[in-house]
């Protein structure tokens, strides 16, 4: 395509008159701009990398993007690698779907059971633990359900249902939603009551909704930390080992989708799990709070 453009520009340049000269100048500027846009962010150090491997597509959950972690984590890698990482942030379910369809080179998600199914189905290879944080149960500051005095997360949920209080569920098959369903399972099943609202929306919208309705909700700590200033809610239950939230990274299976950037995906996974990448994760803070811890949680479910 560039060849065609160049030819027309050259022709315009050969045409007599000022118009032709102007067109030629425009063409030169355009070529310069195009060159600059195509240059890898890392500069000349990795100019030998083929163009098809300069872009890494990563599908991830909203929590890693919204918390600001990726903006802190990816630039140093992009510099080393000489490539740019394009992030699509959706729910864990949708992120895995993007990976399965070959619309991403790797996925960074947090739903262990779904991740294992993804790998077992042959969609992904080389799953690795990257980091973890935890979930917290938030609710009205007055705590009408008495969640604060509940022993663990499951009994806290039972208290909400027992007192017929409102509870806003993600209801979107996200990692947080799957965690909530696991907790209900260990609480003896999800009871049916009118206050259980299945919102089918993202974490931010669910927290806003819970604040508006003065309802309870389960949230990841990162989203909570970034939004709590605007919410009339408080953390009422935390610290239960069952609330650990481990993140895993998986490369999309290159055998299934030959067109993907398998090399880039592998390099990004290597970097995320390298001492350098892990240190970078540990040093990220939002609002003075550490949101992600490197490695695997001390106590797993």
């Amino acid at each position: 395509m560039r060849k065609v453009l160049l030819r027309s520009w050259v022709r315009a340049g050969l045409a007599p008159g000022r118009q032709g000269v102007a067109a030629l100048l425009c063409a030169l500027v355009l070529v310069g701009v195009a060159r600059a846009a195509e240059a890898p962010p890392g500069g000349s150090a990795v100019a030998q990398r083929p163009a098809s491997e300069r872009v890494i597509r990563m599908a991830t959950t909203t929590s890693t993007e919204n918390s600001g972690l990726l903006g802190w984590l990816l630039p140093p890698f992009e510099k080393v690698c000489g490539c740019s990482v394009r992030v699509v942030s959706v729910g864990t379910g949708a992120a895995l779907k993007l990976g399965a369809n070959g619309d991403a080179d790797l996925v960074l998600v947090h739903a262990r059971a779904a991740e294992d199914r993804f790998v077992a189905a042959g969609h992904g290879v080389d799953r690795r633990d990257v980091m973890y944080n935890d979930f917290v149960l938030v609710g009205p500051k007055a705590d009408p359900a008495g969640v604060r005095s509940a022993g663990n997360a499951a009994s806290a949920l039972r208290a909400v249902a027992g007192r017929q209080q409102r509870f806003v569920s993600r209801g979107d098959e996200s990692g947080t939603h799957q965690m909530e369903l696991d907790l209900w399972k260990s609480a003896g099943g999800l009871p049916k009551w009118a206050g259980y609202l299945s919102a089918g929306r993202g974490m931010g919208e669910v927290l806003t909704m819970a604040s508006e309705l003065q309802a309870y909700a389960l949230t990841d700590r990162g989203t909570w930390a970034s939004m709590r200033g605007r919410l009339e809610l408080a953390v009422l239950s935390e610290g239960d080992p069952a609330l650990a939230n481990p993140y895993g990274v998986i490369a999309v299976n290159p055998a299934r989708h030959p067109g993907i950037n398998a090399r880039g995906a592998r390099e990004l996974i290597d970097w995320l799990t390298s001492p350098e990448g892990q240190a970078r994760i540990a040093s990220y803070k939002a609002g003075g709070e550490t949101l992600f811890f490197p490695g695997v949680p001390k106590v797993t479910r």
Binding site: K97, D172, S198, A199
Partner: protein, 252 residues
Amino acid sequence: MGLLEPTLEALRRLAVLDPALWTVIGVSMQVSLAAMAIATPFAVGAGYLLAMTRFPGRRLLVVLVQSLLSFPTVVVGLLLYLLLSRQGPFGAWQLLFTREAMTIGQVVIAFPIVCAFTLAAVQAADPRLHETARLLGASPLRAAFTVLREVRFALVAAVLSGFGRVVSEVGCALLVGGNIAGHTRSIPTAIALETSKGAFIEGIALGIVLMVVALAVNVALAFSQGAGQGAAVAGHRYRSVARGAAGRPAAP
């Protein structure tokens, strides 16, 4: 992924009266029909007045109504959200995340559409009709109904356009309704949810349901229009009679 398979699955779920699916359809229908029922009389009245009366600032109002035609629904939702939020002026009404809030939003969205279409239809109507009705002794209200009766097919088109916009609208419904399962989950917000889950097949199935619903409403109205075809001819005759009765107007 094929189109046939999800279509068949959606039709099967409709046939076996899947309660979740029918609740979603019910929410969509209830909210959109209520919004049209509320918006239509006011919008038609306003459109008629804008077309037939002259007052200072009229042109400005016409421009305003016509530009509201392309007002983004998500902005309507945002403004309504801020009004109904706990911190907002109407927060005490506790309307946020209810079907009532969705209905209010759709009334706001439908009003300019019906109003602008009515305005255009009345302006395009034969001006002698109104004069004649008045000359024959009709009250202004009676004359207005005569004119609106004359343009009733354009009015049906106006209401259909309004309905089409509100029933398929997702931005406002998502913001002020909240997409709560069984309460405020409508067909478009359900499609948005399924897509965000990566469940494209379910999204397509719901999209087909939405198209079937829209088609059904249009067919129903087409049948009522079909019954009215004779009336349209009769109306035409009536108009000629009225014209004859009033005598040909003086040369313009």
